[in-house]
Symmetry: C2
Subunit: 201 residues, 2 copies
Protein backbone atom coordinates (compact mmCIF):
# COMPACT_ATOMS: atom_id res chain seq x y z
CA UNK A 1 0.00 0.00 0.00
CA UNK A 2 1.73 3.18 -1.15
CA UNK A 3 -0.05 5.94 0.72
CA UNK A 4 2.66 8.43 -0.10
CA UNK A 5 1.58 8.58 -3.74
CA UNK A 6 -1.70 10.24 -2.79
CA UNK A 7 -0.35 12.59 -0.14
CA UNK A 8 -0.34 16.28 -1.07
CA UNK A 9 3.04 16.94 0.56
CA UNK A 10 5.00 14.54 -1.62
CA UNK A 11 8.46 15.80 -2.54
CA UNK A 12 11.21 14.38 -4.82
CA UNK A 13 13.40 13.73 -1.74
CA UNK A 14 11.04 11.09 -0.37
CA UNK A 15 12.66 8.09 -2.03
CA UNK A 16 16.00 9.22 -0.67
CA UNK A 17 14.58 9.47 2.86
CA UNK A 18 12.99 6.04 2.61
CA UNK A 19 16.31 4.59 1.40
CA UNK A 20 18.13 6.26 4.33
CA UNK A 21 15.67 4.69 6.78
CA UNK A 22 16.13 1.25 5.20
CA UNK A 23 19.93 1.50 5.31
CA UNK A 24 19.81 2.55 8.99
CA UNK A 25 17.33 -0.21 9.87
CA UNK A 26 19.37 -2.83 8.03
CA UNK A 27 22.51 -1.93 10.02
CA UNK A 28 20.69 -1.88 13.37
CA UNK A 29 18.71 -5.10 12.83
CA UNK A 30 21.95 -6.86 11.83
CA UNK A 31 23.86 -5.50 14.83
CA UNK A 32 21.20 -5.60 17.56
CA UNK A 33 18.70 -8.16 16.31
CA UNK A 34 15.00 -7.48 15.83
CA UNK A 35 14.05 -7.28 19.51
CA UNK A 36 16.64 -4.76 20.58
CA UNK A 37 16.14 -2.40 17.67
CA UNK A 38 13.68 0.44 18.18
CA UNK A 39 11.98 2.77 15.70
CA UNK A 40 13.53 5.61 17.70
CA UNK A 41 17.07 4.23 17.25
CA UNK A 42 16.51 3.70 13.52
CA UNK A 43 15.25 7.29 13.18
CA UNK A 44 18.28 8.61 15.08
CA UNK A 45 20.69 6.63 12.90
CA UNK A 46 18.94 7.81 9.72
CA UNK A 47 18.85 11.40 10.97
CA UNK A 48 15.07 11.70 10.66
CA UNK A 49 12.09 12.10 12.98
CA UNK A 50 10.60 8.83 14.37
CA UNK A 51 7.21 9.94 13.02
CA UNK A 52 8.66 9.93 9.53
CA UNK A 53 9.72 6.29 9.92
CA UNK A 54 6.14 5.43 10.81
CA UNK A 55 4.94 7.50 7.87
CA UNK A 56 6.68 5.06 5.51
CA UNK A 57 6.31 1.83 7.50
CA UNK A 58 3.30 1.02 9.66
CA UNK A 59 5.33 -0.95 12.22
CA UNK A 60 8.74 -2.28 13.13
CA UNK A 61 7.60 -5.61 11.67
CA UNK A 62 6.78 -4.05 8.32
CA UNK A 63 10.10 -2.21 8.27
CA UNK A 64 11.94 -5.43 9.11
CA UNK A 65 10.30 -7.28 6.26
CA UNK A 66 11.08 -4.40 3.90
CA UNK A 67 14.70 -4.41 5.01
CA UNK A 68 15.17 -8.12 4.57
CA UNK A 69 13.36 -8.19 1.25
CA UNK A 70 14.82 -5.73 -1.25
CA UNK A 71 18.37 -6.92 -2.08
CA UNK A 72 17.12 -10.27 -3.49
CA UNK A 73 20.77 -11.17 -4.00
CA UNK A 74 20.69 -14.08 -1.60
CA UNK A 75 17.59 -15.88 -2.93
CA UNK A 76 18.80 -15.32 -6.50
CA UNK A 77 22.26 -16.67 -5.73
CA UNK A 78 20.79 -19.71 -3.96
CA UNK A 79 18.33 -20.44 -6.77
CA UNK A 80 21.11 -20.15 -9.36
CA UNK A 81 23.45 -22.50 -7.51
CA UNK A 82 20.70 -25.05 -6.93
CA UNK A 83 19.37 -24.95 -10.48
CA UNK A 84 22.76 -25.45 -12.13
CA UNK A 85 23.99 -29.00 -11.76
CA UNK A 86 23.08 -32.62 -11.51
CA UNK A 87 19.78 -33.30 -9.69
CA UNK A 88 21.51 -36.22 -7.98
CA UNK A 89 23.81 -33.82 -6.12
CA UNK A 90 21.10 -31.30 -5.22
CA UNK A 91 21.18 -32.29 -1.53
CA UNK A 92 24.95 -31.95 -1.38
CA UNK A 93 24.89 -28.57 -3.13
CA UNK A 94 22.15 -27.31 -0.84
CA UNK A 95 23.93 -28.48 2.34
CA UNK A 96 27.24 -26.97 1.13
CA UNK A 97 25.60 -23.68 0.22
CA UNK A 98 23.81 -23.22 3.55
CA UNK A 99 26.68 -24.37 5.76
CA UNK A 100 29.04 -21.99 3.89
CA UNK A 101 26.55 -19.16 4.16
CA UNK A 102 26.16 -19.72 7.88
CA UNK A 103 29.86 -20.24 8.58
CA UNK A 104 30.62 -16.92 6.84
CA UNK A 105 30.33 -13.93 9.16
CA UNK A 106 29.00 -11.68 6.41
CA UNK A 107 25.92 -13.83 5.73
CA UNK A 108 25.40 -15.69 9.02
CA UNK A 109 23.54 -12.84 10.72
CA UNK A 110 21.04 -12.53 7.86
CA UNK A 111 19.81 -16.13 8.14
CA UNK A 112 20.04 -16.17 11.95
CA UNK A 113 18.15 -12.87 12.32
CA UNK A 114 15.45 -13.89 9.85
CA UNK A 115 14.97 -17.17 11.71
CA UNK A 116 14.85 -15.53 15.14
CA UNK A 117 12.40 -12.91 13.91
CA UNK A 118 10.22 -15.46 12.12
CA UNK A 119 9.48 -17.07 15.46
CA UNK A 120 7.69 -14.01 16.73
CA UNK A 121 6.63 -12.20 13.58
CA UNK A 122 4.21 -14.21 11.45
CA UNK A 123 5.07 -12.08 8.41
CA UNK A 124 8.76 -12.97 8.64
CA UNK A 125 8.16 -16.68 8.03
CA UNK A 126 7.76 -15.61 4.42
CA UNK A 127 11.38 -14.41 4.37
CA UNK A 128 12.61 -17.81 5.43
CA UNK A 129 10.59 -19.40 2.64
CA UNK A 130 12.16 -16.92 0.26
CA UNK A 131 15.65 -18.15 1.19
CA UNK A 132 14.93 -21.86 1.58
CA UNK A 133 11.73 -22.96 -0.16
CA UNK A 134 11.50 -20.72 -3.22
CA UNK A 135 15.01 -21.39 -4.58
CA UNK A 136 14.21 -25.11 -4.40
CA UNK A 137 10.91 -24.62 -6.20
CA UNK A 138 12.75 -22.64 -8.86
CA UNK A 139 15.32 -25.42 -9.22
CA UNK A 140 12.45 -27.92 -9.53
CA UNK A 141 10.67 -25.94 -12.23
CA UNK A 142 12.66 -27.56 -15.02
CA UNK A 143 12.39 -31.10 -13.67
CA UNK A 144 9.22 -33.15 -13.58
CA UNK A 145 9.37 -33.92 -9.85
CA UNK A 146 6.06 -34.25 -8.10
CA UNK A 147 5.15 -32.83 -4.66
CA UNK A 148 7.58 -29.95 -5.08
CA UNK A 149 6.12 -27.86 -2.21
CA UNK A 150 6.16 -30.80 0.18
CA UNK A 151 9.75 -31.69 -0.76
CA UNK A 152 10.90 -28.10 -0.38
CA UNK A 153 9.34 -27.68 3.07
CA UNK A 154 10.76 -31.02 4.28
CA UNK A 155 14.20 -29.79 3.20
CA UNK A 156 13.51 -26.49 4.97
CA UNK A 157 12.73 -28.41 8.17
CA UNK A 158 16.21 -30.00 8.17
CA UNK A 159 17.92 -26.73 7.26
CA UNK A 160 16.08 -24.75 9.93
CA UNK A 161 16.91 -27.42 12.52
CA UNK A 162 20.57 -27.37 11.48
CA UNK A 163 20.70 -23.57 11.78
CA UNK A 164 19.00 -23.72 15.19
CA UNK A 165 21.13 -26.53 16.62
CA UNK A 166 24.54 -25.46 15.29
CA UNK A 167 24.37 -21.66 15.07
CA UNK A 168 21.72 -20.53 17.55
CA UNK A 169 21.53 -23.14 20.34
CA UNK A 170 25.16 -24.14 19.67
CA UNK A 171 24.65 -27.74 20.81
CA UNK A 172 27.85 -29.81 20.87
CA UNK A 173 29.28 -31.76 19.13
CA UNK A 174 27.23 -30.43 16.19
CA UNK A 175 28.26 -26.80 16.81
CA UNK A 176 31.98 -27.53 16.39
CA UNK A 177 31.85 -30.08 13.56
CA UNK A 178 34.10 -29.26 10.59
CA UNK A 179 31.81 -27.95 7.81
CA UNK A 180 32.71 -30.82 5.50
CA UNK A 181 31.63 -33.40 8.09
CA UNK A 182 28.32 -31.67 8.84
CA UNK A 183 27.58 -31.39 5.11
CA UNK A 184 28.22 -35.13 4.69
CA UNK A 185 25.67 -35.92 7.42
CA UNK A 186 22.81 -33.73 6.26
CA UNK A 187 23.24 -33.89 2.46
CA UNK A 188 21.65 -37.40 2.16
CA UNK A 189 18.66 -36.19 4.20
CA UNK A 190 18.14 -33.22 1.89
CA UNK A 191 18.67 -35.40 -1.18
CA UNK A 192 16.02 -37.88 -0.04
CA UNK A 193 13.52 -35.10 0.72
CA UNK A 194 14.21 -33.37 -2.59
CA UNK A 195 14.43 -36.20 -5.11
CA UNK A 196 13.95 -39.49 -3.23
CA UNK A 197 10.97 -41.79 -3.20
CA UNK A 198 8.73 -40.40 -0.46
CA UNK A 199 5.93 -42.94 -0.96
CA UNK A 200 3.36 -40.16 -0.68
CA UNK A 201 0.01 -41.79 -0.05
Amino acid sequence: MDETATRPGRRPGQNKTKAKIIVAAEALFAKEGFDHTTIRAIARQAGVDPALVLHYFDSKQELFIAVMTPPQRMPHKIAKELANGNPETLGLRMATLFVSMLDAKSTNHIVVNVLKAAIRIPGAAVLLKRIMVRPILKAFKESALDHAELRATLAQSQLVGMVMTRYILKVEPLASLPPKELIAYIAPTLQRYLTGDLNVS
Copy 2:
Protein backbone atom coordinates in the same frame (compact mmCIF):
# COMPACT_ATOMS: atom_id res chain seq x y z
CA MET B 1 22.56 -23.34 45.31
CA ASP B 2 20.13 -23.55 48.22
CA GLU B 3 20.62 -20.32 50.11
CA THR B 4 17.47 -20.80 52.11
CA ALA B 5 18.99 -23.64 54.12
CA THR B 6 21.45 -21.29 55.82
CA ARG B 7 19.14 -18.36 56.37
CA PRO B 8 18.17 -17.64 59.96
CA GLY B 9 14.56 -16.82 59.12
CA ARG B 10 13.79 -20.23 57.64
CA ARG B 11 10.33 -21.48 58.41
CA PRO B 12 8.62 -24.77 57.61
CA GLY B 13 6.27 -22.93 55.21
CA GLN B 14 9.08 -22.04 52.82
CA ASN B 15 8.87 -25.14 50.66
CA LYS B 16 5.15 -24.57 50.30
CA THR B 17 5.73 -20.98 49.20
CA LYS B 18 8.36 -22.05 46.68
CA ALA B 19 5.98 -24.70 45.34
CA LYS B 20 3.20 -22.10 45.02
CA ILE B 21 5.51 -19.82 43.01
CA ILE B 22 6.49 -22.69 40.72
CA VAL B 23 2.86 -23.68 40.10
CA ALA B 24 1.94 -20.06 39.32
CA ALA B 25 4.96 -19.62 37.04
CA GLU B 26 4.25 -22.89 35.22
CA ALA B 27 0.69 -21.81 34.46
CA LEU B 28 1.72 -18.34 33.29
CA PHE B 29 4.67 -19.45 31.17
CA ALA B 30 2.43 -22.01 29.48
CA LYS B 31 -0.33 -19.50 28.86
CA GLU B 32 1.61 -16.33 28.04
CA GLY B 33 4.98 -17.64 26.92
CA PHE B 34 8.32 -16.65 28.43
CA ASP B 35 8.43 -13.08 27.09
CA HIS B 36 5.02 -11.97 28.22
CA THR B 37 5.26 -13.39 31.72
CA THR B 38 6.53 -11.03 34.42
CA ILE B 39 7.85 -11.73 37.92
CA ARG B 40 5.11 -9.38 39.12
CA ALA B 41 2.37 -11.42 37.44
CA ILE B 42 3.78 -14.67 38.84
CA ALA B 43 3.87 -13.15 42.33
CA ARG B 44 0.28 -11.92 41.98
CA GLN B 45 -0.92 -15.35 40.81
CA ALA B 46 0.94 -17.07 43.68
CA GLY B 47 -0.38 -14.55 46.21
CA VAL B 48 3.09 -13.51 47.37
CA ASP B 49 5.27 -10.41 47.21
CA PRO B 50 7.44 -10.05 44.04
CA ALA B 51 10.49 -9.70 46.32
CA LEU B 52 9.81 -13.18 47.64
CA VAL B 53 9.92 -14.62 44.12
CA LEU B 54 13.36 -13.07 43.67
CA HIS B 55 14.38 -14.42 47.07
CA TYR B 56 13.98 -17.96 45.73
CA PHE B 57 14.96 -17.39 42.09
CA ASP B 58 17.60 -14.89 40.98
CA SER B 59 15.87 -14.11 37.71
CA LYS B 60 12.96 -14.94 35.43
CA GLN B 61 15.38 -17.15 33.47
CA GLU B 62 16.27 -19.15 36.56
CA LEU B 63 12.62 -19.52 37.50
CA PHE B 64 11.77 -20.65 33.99
CA ILE B 65 14.45 -23.33 34.05
CA ALA B 66 13.26 -24.45 37.50
CA VAL B 67 9.67 -24.65 36.26
CA MET B 68 10.53 -26.66 33.18
CA THR B 69 12.86 -28.96 35.08
CA PRO B 70 11.19 -30.54 38.12
CA PRO B 71 8.45 -32.83 36.79
CA GLN B 72 10.91 -34.96 34.82
CA ARG B 73 7.91 -36.92 33.61
CA MET B 74 8.42 -36.01 30.01
CA PRO B 75 12.14 -36.91 29.66
CA HIS B 76 11.51 -40.13 31.62
CA LYS B 77 8.58 -41.08 29.46
CA ILE B 78 10.55 -40.36 26.28
CA ALA B 79 13.60 -42.30 27.46
CA LYS B 80 11.42 -45.26 28.41
CA GLU B 81 9.61 -45.38 25.08
CA LEU B 82 12.85 -45.07 23.12
CA ALA B 83 14.75 -47.66 25.16
CA ASN B 84 12.07 -50.33 24.88
CA GLY B 85 11.96 -51.83 21.44
CA ASN B 86 13.87 -52.83 18.37
CA PRO B 87 16.81 -50.50 17.55
CA GLU B 88 15.78 -50.79 13.91
CA THR B 89 12.54 -48.93 14.63
CA LEU B 90 14.11 -46.28 16.87
CA GLY B 91 13.66 -43.55 14.24
CA LEU B 92 10.01 -44.47 13.74
CA ARG B 93 9.32 -44.54 17.49
CA MET B 94 11.06 -41.21 17.99
CA ALA B 95 9.16 -39.54 15.13
CA THR B 96 5.85 -40.98 16.36
CA LEU B 97 6.52 -39.88 19.94
CA PHE B 98 7.41 -36.29 19.09
CA VAL B 99 4.69 -35.76 16.50
CA SER B 100 2.10 -37.13 18.99
CA MET B 101 3.49 -34.96 21.78
CA LEU B 102 3.32 -31.88 19.57
CA ASP B 103 -0.08 -32.65 18.10
CA ALA B 104 -1.50 -33.02 21.63
CA LYS B 105 -2.61 -29.71 23.14
CA SER B 106 -1.53 -30.75 26.65
CA THR B 107 2.13 -31.24 25.70
CA ASN B 108 2.56 -29.02 22.63
CA HIS B 109 3.09 -25.84 24.61
CA ILE B 110 5.88 -27.37 26.71
CA VAL B 111 8.07 -28.22 23.72
CA VAL B 112 7.15 -25.04 21.84
CA ASN B 113 7.81 -22.79 24.84
CA VAL B 114 11.11 -24.49 25.67
CA LEU B 115 12.21 -24.08 22.05
CA LYS B 116 11.17 -20.42 21.86
CA ALA B 117 12.86 -19.65 25.17
CA ALA B 118 16.04 -21.55 24.25
CA ILE B 119 16.60 -19.10 21.42
CA ARG B 120 17.04 -16.19 23.78
CA ILE B 121 18.08 -17.85 27.05
CA PRO B 122 21.36 -19.74 26.79
CA GLY B 123 20.46 -21.76 29.90
CA ALA B 124 17.28 -23.07 28.32
CA ALA B 125 19.11 -24.90 25.51
CA VAL B 126 19.85 -27.45 28.22
CA LEU B 127 16.10 -28.12 28.60
CA LEU B 128 15.82 -28.99 24.95
CA LYS B 129 18.72 -31.41 25.30
CA ARG B 130 16.92 -32.92 28.28
CA ILE B 131 13.89 -33.71 26.12
CA MET B 132 15.63 -34.68 22.90
CA VAL B 133 19.29 -35.62 23.37
CA ARG B 134 19.38 -37.27 26.80
CA PRO B 135 16.58 -39.79 26.22
CA ILE B 136 18.44 -40.90 23.09
CA LEU B 137 21.72 -41.23 25.00
CA LYS B 138 19.89 -43.27 27.62
CA ALA B 139 18.43 -45.51 24.92
CA PHE B 140 21.94 -45.90 23.48
CA LYS B 141 23.49 -46.85 26.80
CA GLU B 142 22.66 -50.52 26.38
CA SER B 143 23.74 -50.71 22.76
CA ALA B 144 27.32 -50.49 21.56
CA LEU B 145 26.71 -47.67 19.07
CA ASP B 146 29.58 -45.26 18.57
CA HIS B 147 29.33 -41.47 18.31
CA ALA B 148 26.24 -41.40 20.51
CA GLU B 149 26.41 -37.63 21.22
CA LEU B 150 26.85 -36.80 17.54
CA ARG B 151 23.96 -39.09 16.55
CA ALA B 152 21.69 -37.63 19.22
CA THR B 153 22.37 -34.02 18.22
CA LEU B 154 21.85 -34.80 14.53
CA ALA B 155 18.47 -36.29 15.44
CA GLN B 156 17.74 -33.22 17.55
CA SER B 157 18.46 -31.01 14.53
CA GLN B 158 15.72 -32.74 12.49
CA LEU B 159 13.28 -32.72 15.42
CA VAL B 160 13.87 -29.03 16.19
CA GLY B 161 13.44 -28.18 12.49
CA MET B 162 10.23 -30.18 12.35
CA VAL B 163 8.84 -28.40 15.44
CA MET B 164 9.83 -25.02 14.01
CA THR B 165 8.45 -25.61 10.51
CA ARG B 166 5.21 -27.37 11.42
CA TYR B 167 4.22 -25.95 14.80
CA ILE B 168 5.88 -22.53 15.10
CA LEU B 169 6.32 -21.16 11.56
CA LYS B 170 3.37 -23.28 10.32
CA VAL B 171 4.77 -23.60 6.79
CA GLU B 172 2.43 -25.39 4.39
CA PRO B 173 2.03 -28.12 3.28
CA LEU B 174 4.08 -29.45 6.22
CA ALA B 175 1.87 -27.77 8.84
CA SER B 176 -1.29 -29.58 7.71
CA LEU B 177 0.15 -33.01 6.91
CA PRO B 178 -1.64 -35.92 8.59
CA PRO B 179 0.62 -37.06 11.49
CA LYS B 180 1.14 -40.50 9.95
CA GLU B 181 2.42 -39.01 6.72
CA LEU B 182 4.83 -36.62 8.45
CA ILE B 183 6.14 -39.47 10.61
CA ALA B 184 6.78 -41.57 7.49
CA TYR B 185 8.89 -38.76 5.99
CA ILE B 186 11.10 -37.96 8.97
CA ALA B 187 11.48 -41.42 10.57
CA PRO B 188 14.08 -42.63 8.00
CA THR B 189 16.10 -39.44 8.61
CA LEU B 190 16.12 -40.05 12.37
CA GLN B 191 16.90 -43.74 11.87
CA ARG B 192 19.91 -42.95 9.71
CA TYR B 193 21.22 -40.38 12.20
CA LEU B 194 20.65 -42.73 15.14
CA THR B 195 21.82 -46.11 13.88
CA GLY B 196 22.95 -45.70 10.26
CA ASP B 197 26.44 -45.69 8.86
CA LEU B 198 27.57 -42.09 9.15
CA ASN B 199 31.09 -42.70 7.76
CA VAL B 200 32.55 -40.51 10.51
CA SER B 201 36.08 -39.61 9.43
